[in-house]
């Protein structure tokens, strides 16, 4: 089929929290915007977020944005860029108030203000004690946020291209992005969407692991597009294992359970986090808690017949609190763990949850890359926001509630920057003559192949390899073997074939295309992990157990081609306040 063409001022790929916050900002600027989404917008994975969005409103106890900033910097294990973190934490209260004004149905305190709960790593007065900073809507905060944003986009008459899968970026000879090639899933038609600005908001790639809290759609599509385009992926070695995924199912149980008072127990009924984190205990940051849980299991104190999980106890909160504040996770526990948490604890294990790394971007959301001697050259016409980006506000480990915040703050910031830039005038750049050729070639080759391996056989092998070789505790031996395995799997992936050749809503074709994106994300992850010979945040090496600030306060930049791995410094200087110097992380 030939390539159809459409033209807009801006194209946003992805209609999750970041994409739809950005589109709202652009709609107000009167620009022509197309928002592409692989799924109907409210199906985006933001909908599954549970616990809350972090902001120092101080509705329950005293709070300050500077404390939030400190917690985030320390939580990032000092790999986060402190200027971006300051920006995010200072903007947070306004971002949350704005959501409320837009209609988001937050839970409320008796005085009518937004309810906030404690959450992992969030403290008052620079680590003194937990502080309630997570602004919540029961344990459905992501659902409330995403539906509110969609509703506002309906009011703003945003133009959505639903069930369009973006395939590749189109860049011209100057290196500027002039649009994307996409597949209209319903008809099989391919289309080139020209845009003065392209915004990637495609989420994470959690589906490179066998066990994850992520949706099936989280296949790192934006990452694949960027990698294939010759641009780097940043800090991909840093993947967050959420402490409480349902054992055996992987479904998320929010940290908010621990915020409301839930505790983790080993096979001896011991609240083991008291040993590992005397101050914050079960509300230590996620990397800390996941490693502690894994340590308990390693040392034989796991629960169940296989001694392979720990228990999350919350019955002591009482039925009323559970029904009011945590109704969704009760349903999840009943459905997926056969357990009613009003009576029994939930079996949980550390489960892959969040990608701290991604497409390198600055505080305006512009994609940056080391080009022509400058460390952070702006790539014209290209932005990245949300989980697919790496600003970096989460560094080596993300605090809970900071992702929903990241989406809103940077979705809005990118929208403002784009509106201001386009308002200065200018026009669409000419489309290169060969635009889309490589993409159409890939699609044609896929359709022509017969007798190849099945997509999911290769994908499942990839997931198993990543789970075994790139887990909570890593070693050189495991990672090296993993790099080799992933390289073999990458080669196999180039030869998969599909039996379904239909043009109409061909999900076998979609899955095969997604596999190529999963491969890039997996390669970036394991190769970056092998190279980082220290432990920091979520990247824990048994063979290099200490953090090495002298050599490693730098961001990894992984290129898909021959360029391999490069590095760039962390922004240690905030915008206006003093820098938080790296210290040993204890809780």
């Amino acid at each position: 089929m030939p390539l159809a063409r459409r033209r807009f001022d801006a194209v946003i790929v992805g209609a999750g929290g970041a994409g739809m916050r950005c589109s709202l900002q652009l709609a107000r600027a009167g620009l022509s915007v197309a928002v592409l989404s692989k799924v109907f917008p409210t199906r985006s994975h933001t909908v599954a977020a549970q616990g809350g969005i972090g902001a120092s409103l101080g509705n329950m106890t005293e709070d300050e944005w500077l404390w939030h900033m400190f917690d985030t910097v320390k939580g990032s294990d000092y790999l986060g860029d402190q200027d971006a973190i300051e920006f995010m934490c200072r903007e947070a209260p306004n971002a949350v108030y704005e959501l409320e004004h837009l209609g988001m149905p937050f839970d409320r305190n008796p005085d009518g203000t937004i309810y906030q709960r404690p959450f992992g790593g969030h403290s008052a007065n620079f680590g003194e004690k937990p502080v309630p900073r997570a602004c919540a809507a029961a344990d459905r905060t992501g659902h409330a946020l995403l539906h509110t944003l969609y509703q506002c986009n309906v009011a703003a008459r945003t133009q959505f291209f639903v069930e369009y899968m973006a395939l590749d970026l189109v860049r011209d000879a100057d290196g500027d992005c002039i649009g994307v090639v996409a597949l209209e899933m319903e008809t099989g038609q391919t289309v080139l969407l020209e845009a003065r600005v392209t915004v990637l908001a495609t989420g994470g790639a959690g589906r490179i692991f066998a066990a994850s809290t992520n949706a099936y759609i989280n296949t790192g599509d934006g990452l694949g597009m960027v990698a294939r385009s010759g641009l780097p992926l940043q800090d991909m070695e840093f993947w967050q294992f959420h402490p409480t995924g349902v054992a055996g199912a992987g479904v998320l149980i929010t940290e908010g359970v621990r915020g409301e008072g839930g505790i983790l127990l080993n096979s001896r009924g011991e609240r083991f986090m008291e040993r590992y984190a005397p101050t914050l205990k079960d509300l230590a940051p996620r990397d800390f808690v996941s490693r502690s849980m894994d340590q308990e299991i390693k040392e034989g104190r796991g629960c169940g017949p296989e001694h392979d999980h720990v228990m999350l106890k919350l019955d002591h909160l009482g039925a009323e609190t559970i029904m009011k504040r945590l109704p969704s996770i009760r349903e999840i526990a009943i459905k997926f763990a056969n357990v009613d948490p009003i009576r029994e604890p939930i079996p949980v294990v550390p489960t892959i949850h969040y990608q701290m790394g991604g497409i390198p971007s600055n505080v305006h959301g512009q994609v940056v890359a080391p080009l022509a001697g400058t460390g952070e050259a702006v790539i014209g016409g290209l932005y990245a926001i949300g989980e697919c980006s790496c600003v970096s506000v989460h560094g080596a480990n993300r605090l809970g509630t900071n992702s929903l915040l990241d989406l809103i703050v940077f979705g809005r910031a990118a929208g403002n920057h784009i509106a201001a830039t386009l308002a200065k005038g200018g026009a669409h750049k000419p489309v290169p003559g060969d635009a889309g050729d490589a993409t159409l070639g890939r699609l044609a080759a896929l359709d022509a192949r017969t007798g190849g391996e099945r997509t999911q056989d290769v994908a499942n092998d990839l997931r198993r390899a990543m789970q075994a070789h790139c887990g909570v505790f890593r070693t050189d031996a495991l990672l090296s073997a993993g790099v080799r395995k992933v390289a073999e799997i990458a080669e196999r992936a180039r030869h998969v074939s599909i039996n379904d050749k239909s043009r109409i809503f061909n999900t076998a074709r979609v899955e095969a295309i997604e596999l190529s994106n999963l491969i890039e994300a997996a390669r970036a992850t394991i190769e970056s992990a092998l190279a980082r010979t220290e432990s920091r945040g979520a990247h824990a090496r048994d063979d290099f157990p200490e953090r090495n600030d002298a050599d490693w306060i730098k961001h990894s930049l992984w290129f898909s081609g021959e360029r391999g791995l490069e590095y760039k410094p962390v922004h240690l200087t905030p915008l206006t306040v003093d820098s938080f110097a790296p210290k040993k992380r204890t809780f």
Partner: protein, 250 residues
């Protein structure tokens, strides 16, 4: 070292369990008309939910079987379908509860795009038509607008809707007039905003529903309440709207 991997077993550890399915198939690119396909699938040990079986069919038996899915935990609403005659979400329907052969059909009453994928246009148009967004003309305060816990409770049972369409596509009134009757999901959301103390457009919202079809095609059949996977009650919300309509006429 121990690797904690909740996903049990390598490929060789197959469960002996095989399930029989009859699935509605239709590919407009090749088929003149729909047909029911009989097939069997061997499950793996961890396959508990209907969606797991569907993914297994797609990966191991027939990659052309097309269906929507995403979160696999019952919060996104993608995988609504008609399961043994009853609308539900595949990802939270336990296989143990299903008599075999498991009969899968697309949601009733909406045009079929392919296999179990329906055209949701009418459903979403009706949702959009009730202006499902907060309408408040006053300048907002610097901080949050205040809302008491009691006022906020009014939204419970309303805001949780995931727009899966199980309700509207189980409603005979919606089957007969999907272009004129708003349907249970749309009306539940209409009430969500009527009930929100921060919304100021109640009068307009009620006017917007004042015709023979938009609201009043609801005859309290209550299939919607029966099938809602989130336990919501559109009939009750519709009843409240009807009551408000009556009151303002008196």
């Amino acid at each position: 070292m121990t690797v904690t991997s909740p996903v049990a077993g390598p490929v060789s550890a197959r469960s002996a369990k095989t399930l029989r399915f009859r699935i509605y198939r239709y590919d407009p690119d090749r088929d003149d008309k729909p047909r029911m396909q009989d097939l069997e699938v061997a499950l793996h040990a961890n396959d508990k939910m209907l969606l797991d079986a569907l993914m297994r069919i797609k990966s191991d038996v027939d990659d052309s079987l097309s269906f929507r899915r995403s979160c696999r935990e019952g919060v996104c609403g993608s995988d609504a379908m008609n399961i043994n005659g009853r609308n539900g979400l595949a990802c939270i329907t336990n296989l143990r509860e299903l008599a075999q052969p498991i009969v899968l059909r697309p949601l009733p009453g909406l045009p079929v795009v392919r296999d179990l994928i329906v055209d949701m246009t009418d459903f979403f148009n009706q949702y959009h038509s009730v202006k499902p967004y907060l309408i408040n003309g006053t300048v907002p305060p610097e901080r949050e607008r205040l809302q008491s816990p009691r006022q906020r409770e009014e939204l419970d049972g309303l805001y949780e809707c995931i727009l899966c369409a199980c309700c509207s596509t189980s409603c005979p009134s919606f089957w007969w007039n999907p272009d004129k009757f708003v349907g249970p999901a749309g009306l539940l959301q209409a009430y969500r905003f009527i009930a929100d103390s921060r919304d100021e457009a109640t009068a307009d919202r009620l006017d917007n529903l004042m015709d023979p079809y938009r609201l009043f095609r609801c005859h309290t059949i209550m299939n919607c309440v029966d099938v809602c996977p989130k336990g919501l009650n559109p009939t009750r919300a519709i009843g409240r709207i009807k009551e408000m309509m009556v009151r303002r006429e008196i």
